[in-house]
Amino acid sequence: MTPEMSPVAEEHAGRAPMDLLRFATAGSVDDGKSTLIGRLLLDSKSIFEDQLEAVEATSHSKGYDYTDLALLTDGLRSEREQGITIDVAYRYFATPTRKFIIADTPGHIQYTRNMVTGASTADLGLVLVDARQGLTEQSRRHAVLLSLLRVPHLVLAVNKMDLVDYDESVYEKIHNEFTQFATKLNIPDLEVIPISALKGDNVVTRSEEMPWYHGPTLMHHLEHVHVASDRDLVDVRFPVQFVVRPKSDEFHDYRGYAGQVAGGVIKKGDEVVVLPSGMTSTVEAIDMFDNEIDEAFPPMSVTVRLADDVDVSRGDMIARVNNAPKPSQDIDAMICWMINEPLRPRQKLAIKHTTRMGRALVKDIQYRLDVNTLHRDQDTKELGLNEIGRIQLRTTVPLLCDPYSKNRTTGSFILIDEASGVTVGAGMINSGS
């Protein structure tokens, strides 16, 4: 089963960092988020000399007497001119144990859609608060969105501790207030860390100013937080992306179903059902490039061959006979609306769910969720830009879906405006029937 390795490959094996953590950051310009990211990049030696020199030169020309680390992450010129971050930016750094992908999202109220976008792929959410300000409406909103997007781990970084004399009681007050608020949300794992991004306290190196704090530094936590168990390894879900048919002499009868495992462990010999047709078969082989493997699990991209000649095409899903999602055309979902023109009942949109495209009719808007107070406004007639609400959809094709709380891949969808082609909404399924 182990493929042949070239001498180069053999010598090379095992040198790359083993693990991956995707995290989303949230906070406003004033919370020092850009400075914190700059600090993580700088202290993990992910900043290059030419980048640092450019930033030092800019800081100097602006008359600062310190190096503005925030400049390291201010991407586009139009943003630099305005001094704000207008879109999700992705940053990369690595330590010997883990590689990190940061989805850096702006914190302003009008940019909820960016936060939702950044959080959709994140294993961990990092919310920043200014120790002097304490929890704000915005930090609560960020926590609500991370919880809604089912980001399994949350870190609240209490920043600017240097400006409150590293006072434990300031940290304790914010810690308690946030913990209390978090009980209303779905946050399986929470860590509250007192830091100073500017001075570097508890970011990568442990602060000498806060001996009262016994928890991990931010970097230590990011490196060690356990994310492997966040996947569903029980319920087999394999959305078919592409049918591989070489039609060559060597592989004349080859017919494989290519896709990325969205849940569970698929094993050779498993009895499976193909949805929505309901036909059953057995897994004859699982191919990963030119070698056969015995089992496949998320997020592997593989090609599955079945023992029987059943009709399978893109958009279908392979699941276990006794554990399959029910095909549903009536969908109950939370939605984040992303364009100026509001969402209204009776509207028709294109929908993409796993590898399946269809059309959807908005049957009803049940309520709008106030992300600051968690109040449900049931009188609402529409959802505006950056608003979140619960809606009912009727789809032209059955969706092979799970609740989002169970599986973030088979529980999510996007809505597309058919005229403009733009992605207008992000949906998280509560249930289908």
Binding site: H12, D19, G75, R77, Y90, A94, N291, M300, S301
Partner: protein
């Protein structure tokens, strides 16, 4: 090592996760777009793309052609590597020549504009002529600030332009490939890879890359603080002298602009060690085209660069 997963804990290494994500992207595009094409420079990133495409559709052939923009100033070692890959995989190669585009009046060589910049018009013309609706590019978000906000599916209007303020939100792994007549999509399957990831992957896969990435003897001269290769395309200016050095290239492009660095790294592992302690980004060190202004890349991208 094509990573046999450690089945005991159902964990994938980060490189395997990146590979799986990229393969997913290739398959989505092949399924949803009428006429995709892979933009191939012969550089290490586009070789990783080809490798991933090979894996995504195996044992079938890659279901789209490969497009190369020939600047006329390409390194012969790079063209040789390109030909070797194309013939091994049996894919169709489309060459869009900058020389030809100049002759046809599609782009104007005013003697001041770099070949790299002339590639933009040549490329857009080739995409339009062949009617390609999706073009895979090897861009990575770690390369440069303007790339950090690039989507995996990057929408281009009928002029091939990128509008950074009007990008479609991209959530989960649900990509939106909707297009209007005349528009096309740039696809970046390596978005989440870093330079080190690319090298680790090349090392692991043990696949062919152009020899100029490895340390070799070369006749070079210094210009604007960079070592450039001696070549007929690169006439010496006053005061410049040629000497022989042990060098390697960190990126491959137009040879009149692409500098090399002094290096003894003649294996992938040595290159990785070198990069791990490198203090200058690969573009900052050796790409004349990115040094002209801090926002050089942003401007070229808006116009329709790779």
């Amino acid at each position: 090592m094509s990573a046999p997963p450690t089945h005991a804990d159902y964990q994938l290494s980060q490189l395997d996760q990146l590979e799986a994500e990229s393969i997913h992207i290739f398959r989505e595009v092949a399924a949803e777009f009428e006429k995709p094409v892979l933009m191939f420079s012969g550089g290490k990133d586009s070789i990783v793309m080809l490798r991933l495409a090979e894996k995504a559709f195996y044992p079938a052939k890659i279901p789209f052609p490969v497009l190369q923009v020939d600047t006329g100033y390409d390194f012969p070692e790079v063209l040789a590597c390109r030909d070797s890959w194309v013939s091994r995989l049996g894919v169709r190669l489309v060459v869009a020549s900058v020389e030809q585009a100049i002759k046809d009046g599609i782009v104007v060589d005013d003697g001041k504009t770099s070949r790299n910049r002339l590639q933009i018009g040549t490329l857009l013309n080739a995409l339009e002529e062949e009617g390609f609706t999706a073009a895979f590019g090897g861009g990575r978000r770690d390369e440069e600030k303007a790339r950090a906000k690039e989507r995996v599916y990057s929408h281009r209007d009928e002029f091939g332009q990128w509008d950074p303020k009007n990008q479609r939100p991209e959530l989960w792994s649900l990509y939106n490939g909707r297009l209007h007549e005349g528009e096309h999509m740039r696809i970046f399957p390596l978005s989440n890879w870093t330079e080190l990831d690319i090298w680790h992957y090349l090392g692991r896969e043990g696949i062919e890359i152009p020899s100029i990435y490895f340390a070799h003897q070369r006749r070079v001269f210094q210009r604007d603080g960079m070592w450039l290769s001696e070549s007929d395309y690169n006439p010496l200016r006053g005061g410049e002298t040629v000497e022989e050095r042990t060098v390697r290239f960190r990126t491959v492009g137009d040879l009149t602009l692409t500098g090399c660095v002094e290096s003894e790294a003649d294996t992938i592992d040595k290159i990785i060690d070198e990069i791990a302690i490198a203090r200058v980004t690969e573009r900052g060190a050796t790409r004349g085209d990115d040094r002209f202004s801090e926002a050089a890349m942003e401007d070229r991208k808006k116009e329709g660069y790779f």
